[in-house]
């Protein structure tokens, strides 16, 4: 009899927990739905965006494969001519520097997270937030410390990369990203970690209440640029 009671109680508790879980989930979905389902036109736009995103992702993967094939073809075509071989090496090397191919190497990862401190009279709440200029300054210091490749939340830093503020988020390579900002850099880790020095920008940010983390690593991967650099106004001077 007591055994039966215990089983009944356990089952009862289990059912209650499960039902509770379901209710919580249903409510969560309902609340997300309320923002999604505002009107049909906006929904159609969202669908369209997702469709283009997917098309972009697929094409991007195909592009990566095609670029590898091109490199093989180029190697094949230049292997019997030392002058051409040199040119082909310069192209391959150049593509790594300009951000057109994925690269790996030793370096550091810097993570910047908005501060959680309570704004006091001495601490401006805006100081707790990572700003566009903070990211710009960190990139500039990394280059100064010899960084050869940099990415911010996997957006590769290329010739035309600009960082701009857009409310609570920032735009990099026309891509909207938000905190935490994960900045990866390839270079000599000992030099790159010098950014933590006293009087450096990272220390300045820490004083402002921003959370800063720097980690050295022997194996950092930085992706290729997600876009294409096209010149509309610029021409090479004919020699």
């Amino acid at each position: 009899m007591t055994n039966k009671k215990i089983i009944a109680i356990i089952l009862g508790v289990m059912c209650f927990a499960l039902s509770l879980g379901v209710v919580v989930q249903v409510r969560t979905i309902k609340s997300t739905d309320s923002t999604i389902g505002q009107n049909q036109e906006a929904n159609a736009l969202r669908d369209e965006i997702l469709k283009y995103k997917e098309r972009y992702d697929n094409r991007f993967k195909e592009l990566e494969t095609a670029e590898k094939t091109l490199e093989q073809e180029r190697q094949e075509a230049t292997k019997n001519n030392s002058e051409l071989e040199q040119a082909q090496q310069k192209i391959t090397e150049g593509n790594k520097i300009t951000g057109m191919t994925e690269v790996t190497g030793p370096g550091v990862t810097i993570t910047l997270t908005d501060g959680k401190g309570i704004a006091t009279s001495t601490l401006n709440p805006s100081q707790l937030i990572v700003h566009d200029l903070d990211v710009l300054s960190v990139v500039n210091e990394l280059i100064n410390a010899g960084a050869e490749a940099i990415s911010i939340n996997d957006q590769r830093w290329v010739l035309t990369t600009a960082i701009s503020c857009r409310g609570n988020t920032i735009d990099i390579n026309e891509q909207r990203i938000g905190a935490p900002f994960v900045i990866k850099a390839i270079g000599l880790p000992e030099y790159l970690s010098g950014l933590e020095r006293v009087g450096g920008y990272l220390e300045y940010m820490k004083q402002d209440g921003v959370s800063v983390k720097l980690e050295k690593s022997n194996n950092i991967t930085i992706p290729k640029y997600s876009g294409v650099i096209n010149f509309e106004y610029l021409k090479n001077v004919e020699e």
């Binding site: 991007f60 095609a66 010739l159 270079g187 610029l234």
Partner: protein, 230 residues
């Protein structure tokens, strides 16, 4: 008695299974909705976002077609025993243009800056922010006092701001910033409210902008060496 127990256990088992399945489904839906950052956007924002992705897709698609065509050309050259030299040279020139290793020209603007006499001198950060604003507006090539801005250019104050180094080279006032790009876009990127030129003028510095139909920007004159990227 025994039969009743088994029936009860089976019933409860099925009920639990059903509940867990529903929960899993719900978790999945919640996860999927979380992936997209677009759920809270308003209609106008969504339109911009859509235009953005369309452009990005078109660009990447055009690039894909260009690469595919190059692959074909290399293959054809092999078949006909042509020298691939023309193709390689073309590719090398493209790479060098991106690296900033070629002299370039085109329409754009020239900004000239000189620090005011009784105010804190123009700093490396001022130049860094100016370059960033120009890039954001679509600048295709920039140089400051003929130091070409490449993707690994740093702009730093040396000795507490007594002078500025760009690409490791010391530069002196006046700062002449040459920019190639759409003239009106370049101009509006640095003028108007919040524009860097405007800001420097307000602080008491001299800042002038000149438009040019054919601005020449010299190539980066150092060696771009890499030791760590693979």
């Amino acid at each position: 008695m025994k039969k009743g127990k088994i029936t009860m256990i089976i019933t409860i088992g099925i009920a639990c299974f059903a509940l867990v399945t529903v929960m899993m489904m719900q978790f999945k839906v919640v996860n999927e909705t979380d992936i997209t950052a677009i759920e809270n956007m308003q209609e106008t924002e969504l339109k911009t976002e859509l235009a953005n992705w369309k452009t990005k897709y078109d660009e990447i698609n055009a690039q894909y077609e260009e690469i595919t065509q190059k692959i074909e050309e290399y293959k054809n050259d092999e078949k006909s025993n042509n020298e691939a030299s023309k193709l390689v040279q073309e590719e090398l020139e493209q790479t060098n243009t991106l690296l900033g290793l070629t002299d370039v020209h085109g329409e754009g603007i020239v900004i000239t800056l000189k620090s005011g006499e009784d105010v804190t001198a123009i700093s490396a950060d001022d130049l860094l922010i100016m370059v960033n604003a120009l890039k954001f507006a679509g600048a295709e090539a920039i140089s400051i006092n003929d130091e070409r801005i490449i993707n690994t250019t740093d702009i730093v104050d040396i000795l507490d701001g007594s002078f500025i180094k760009i690409n490791g080279q010391r530069i002196l006032e006046p700062y002449v910033i040459k920019v190639i790009g759409n003239q009106s876009h370049m101009e509006s990127a640095v003028t108007g409210n919040g524009g860097k030129v405007q800001e420097l003028q307000t602080l008491g510095h001299t800042a002038t902008i000149e438009k040019g139909d054919d601005i020449k920007i010299e190539k980066y004159n150092g060696e771009i060496e890499t030791k760590y990227i693979e």
